[in-house]
């Protein structure tokens, strides 16, 4: 009994000793080796939930390139990015819409300089219908007349029924069932701004908490139409070409979204808190380099967005 306790005691001391040696060793190593060769640190980013998947993939790639850098992303919607930037809790704010003037003003008031705006990828809003729907294309006036009550884009009267779009067809018929995003999302705001000419939405649009929910709802209902982000497109639905001012039907594709001919295309932004004349710390710099590299832009494509064209791929913050 007594001997037993003694050996146990001994074992504990030995283990402590080993642990101490190990810790000392580790400390030596980090001091001696860690500093000069690799970049390390934790990057924080707060912002758009549209870009959550993209940020996650970028974070993984960054982890692969520099195992010591750790990207922590908090998706709280585009509106959360300026708040976090102003509060100073993060240096990176990904947003799926440009910063509004008031948000920019708040930032300038706090820091005395504007945030750096980087366009990191392209995206588009799609008008989608059921995959078997025979409708060929829509003009922008029609799109506005379908979704709005104010008709600010120049339509003459509201379009409520499929018969007004497809007079000779037997199917679909009846009321157009409308699907869209919820009030607070950036997609909702952008669609209101760009497709409705800043008009008022109809009240009977089903509001879904995500673009994939919109796509799912449209895909299962033959007389439905909805708007959603480009990255959620799947084979359940068909994206409608839009007719631009010159009368051409423009199909949403990588090329038309890249060169902005598709009318509802947009930039995705990364806002960076960087005083003018300063350079970023190495970890942050590595992240920016990754985004604008070939690998980073392939990740954009894998995440369902449209990569930047070659001309747009200049990483603007590179150290001089």
């Amino acid at each position: 009994m007594k001997g037993n306790r003694l050996t146990r005691h001994c074992g504990r001391i030995q283990r402590c000793y080993r642990l101490l040696v190990a810790i000392a060793w580790l400390l030596c190593c980090t001091v001696a080796v860690g500093q000069p060769t690799s970049v390390s640190g934790t990057l924080g980013a707060v912002g758009s939930d549209t870009m959550a998947g993209l940020m996650l993939r970028w974070g993984e790639a960054l982890d692969h390139r520099h195992p010591d850098i750790n990207l922590q992303f908090q998706a709280g919607g585009s509106a959360s990015a300026p708040t976090a930037l102003v509060a100073g809790t993060t240096r990176f704010g990904p947003m799926s819409r440009p910063m509004s003037d008031t948000e920019r003003q708040q930032f300038i008031e706090r820091y005395g300089y504007p945030p750096r705006e980087l366009k990191v990828a392209r995206d588009a809003l799609l008008l989608v219908v059921h995959r078997h729907n025979p409708l060929a294309s829509l003009t922008r006036e029609q799109a506005d007349a379908i979704f709005s009550t104010s008709l600010d884009c120049g339509g003459l009267r509201p379009i409520r029924r499929w018969e007004q779009l497809l007079p000779s067809e037997q199917w679909p018929y009846g009321k157009i069932a409308l699907h869209g995003r919820n009030l607070a999302s950036g997609t909702h705001g952008l669609f209101q701004d760009r497709a409705l000419c800043n008009g008022q939405f109809r009240r009977d649009i089903s509001e879904h908490p995500g673009s994939s929910a919109v796509i799912a709802a449209v895909g299962e209902s033959p007389n439905a139409m909805g708007y959603a982000g480009y990255n959620h497109l799947n084979s359940m639905v068909r994206a409608l070409p839009l007719i631009d001012d010159t009368g051409h039907a423009i199909r949403p594709s990588v090329a038309t979204i890249q060169d902005d001919t598709y009318p509802l295309s947009r930039d995705l932004y990364l806002y960076v808190n960087l005083p003018p004349g300063d350079t970023l710390p190495p970890a942050e710099q590595a992240f920016i380099e990754l985004i604008f590299s070939e690998e980073g832009q392939q990740i954009v494509q894998a995440a369902g967005f449209v990569p930047l064209s070659q001309a747009q791929r200049q990483p603007p913050l590179l150290a001089p």
């Binding site: 018929y173 919820n182 089903s206 509001e207 908490p209 709802a217």
Partner: protein, 372 residues
Amino acid sequence: MTPPRLPLSRQPLRLIHDRIATGLITAGGIGVLLAILAIGVFLVWETLPLLTFGDALSLNTLSPLAWGTLKAALAAMLFATPIALGAAMYSALFMSARLRGRIKPMLELMEAIPGVVVGFIAGLLLAPWVEQHLASTLLVLVWLPLSAGLAGMLWYVASAKVRQWLPLSWAGVWLMPWLAIMITLALWLAPLLEHAWFGGDLRRMLDQQYGLDYATRNALIVGIAMGFAVIPSIYSLAEDALADVPANLMEGAQALGASRWQALWKVALPTAGPGVFSAVMIGAGRAVGETMIVVMASGNTALFSASPFEGLRSLSASIAIELPEASPGGMTYHLLIFAALALFLFTFLVNTLAEVVRQRLRQRYQRLGGNR
């Protein structure tokens, strides 16, 4: 009967234990009360800035949501109350004890299904199916209760031998194949009836004749899904109230010549009435507060329509969808807090009322000499 005496030396220790336990429990209770009070105060405090924005706007924005909440709850209660109360009456008074011992826990287990799962199934599987088979769905909804009644009539006129073979106390089991056959029959008949009466397409006829819109996710779907979620709580409480009716009352009634049916209507229901009422109230409270089912199955359209085929948007769903992206201090934020306050007050009042009524009932049972 007095509890066994403890040796004198151990009594003080036990007293201390008792004191500590009582103190902890009291502190816990007071803590919960304070927490509820704090939630109320927080909500009121955060709603106050709304007064400066002008109240006309907030009323305009919130009234369709309040209507949507009531519409969803009403639809759910219309679906759930008859089923839950019927099940409670049957299982408390008619069902065989062996069957009841199995069925009751199973039904109560239904309450453990998360709202998200129910909403997911309703929104992504049920809603599209109903949209494509509207006539069949409506026919099944009407035909199922009728066919159960038909089974009852057939059983009533059947010979004594059949009745012995299919006893009333096991009806819950032998009705299942009957109802399955009836559902199949309805599904088979529906397209034929639709063709004969509604020109082949009920939705098109509703649209052309009455101008009724049909949305994929609508009050009907919400009613079915949320009714499904509310049934277990109503059933469980109502069943307890009915089963706890003092046995001497029921036996007395039957000894005086009342049939079981008469004993149910004239004795059990009036006695257990408050309990049944509070069960329905608690179900309504849950239906009003339920969030995920409404988010996923209702389409979230803020409409002022009474049509069961159009969407709705409830207060709780609005809070769930919009609050994460509403900037604190803004108009939307305060409006959502106001919605939360309305919701809190409503469920708090309904639940308190139900609980008070239930306490009264418990006292009544004690007076009547219940042995439970």
